[in-house]
Symmetry: C2
Subunit: 95 residues, 2 copies
DNA sequence: ATAAACAAGTTTATAAAATAAACCAAATAA
DNA sequence: TTATTTGGTTTATTTTATAAACTTGTTTAT
């Protein structure tokens, strides 16, 4: 089958992350953790995948001495998300 | 993460099959093969999964002496598809 | 000052899923 | 009658997702 749905976005956790980031300037790791109810390991893994594809940028700093990971969607990520939304619609018909 | 997207439908090939069946009374194996461009093996496997979940019914007969597999979406399948579409929309925002 | 508990992630190992490749039975063609 | 084609199914491999274990450093209690 020729794939029209970006496999990177066609995963619930990654899609949720992107869906949050697209309307939230940027988000901290723990915020995403709370919103998604994912495990830390899984969240970390999926953030890494999105970052490797340059769909998001990840900034590492410190807050109160603790590591702080902040994520932000990129222009490429926004494009991919929009394309994904468009492609999906062709499957859903009028719904 | 709590899953809100039915994993059975959240796969491009199965989604495509369902998307075709929902607007086509019924479809023959070769029709689905042609529309999806999947391999026969993969198509067979995914049809089996959808059938096991009672999302579709599968009828086996013969046409011109050759085996003929016909698929039809079920009421349960329609419901699942509609729910999936609704759930997805929460991820896509206004798009 | 040391040890135990906690924070914020990352890495690794396992389970599950998707897919391609190989196979099969029956029909037709050479 | 052997070879090829049709219409699939089954098996084996690869990929992906996920949970469990680990790491690095911090804070709290002793």
């Amino acid at each position: 089958m020729y794939k029209s749905l970006d496999p990177l976005l066609h995963n619930e956790l990654r899609l949720k992350i992107m869906s949050l980031l697209i309307s939230i300037e940027s988000a901290e790791f723990n915020f995403l953790l709370d919103e998604t109810k994912a495990t830390r390991g899984n969240l970390s893994a999926q953030i890494t995948k999105l970052a490797k594809a340059d769909y998001i940028t990840v900034n590492k700093s410190f807050k109160n001495n603790y590591p702080l990971t902040t994520c932000k969607i990129s222009a490429k990520g926004i494009d991919a998300f929009e394309s994904y939304a468009t492609a999906l619609k062709t499957y859903l018909g009028n719904r």
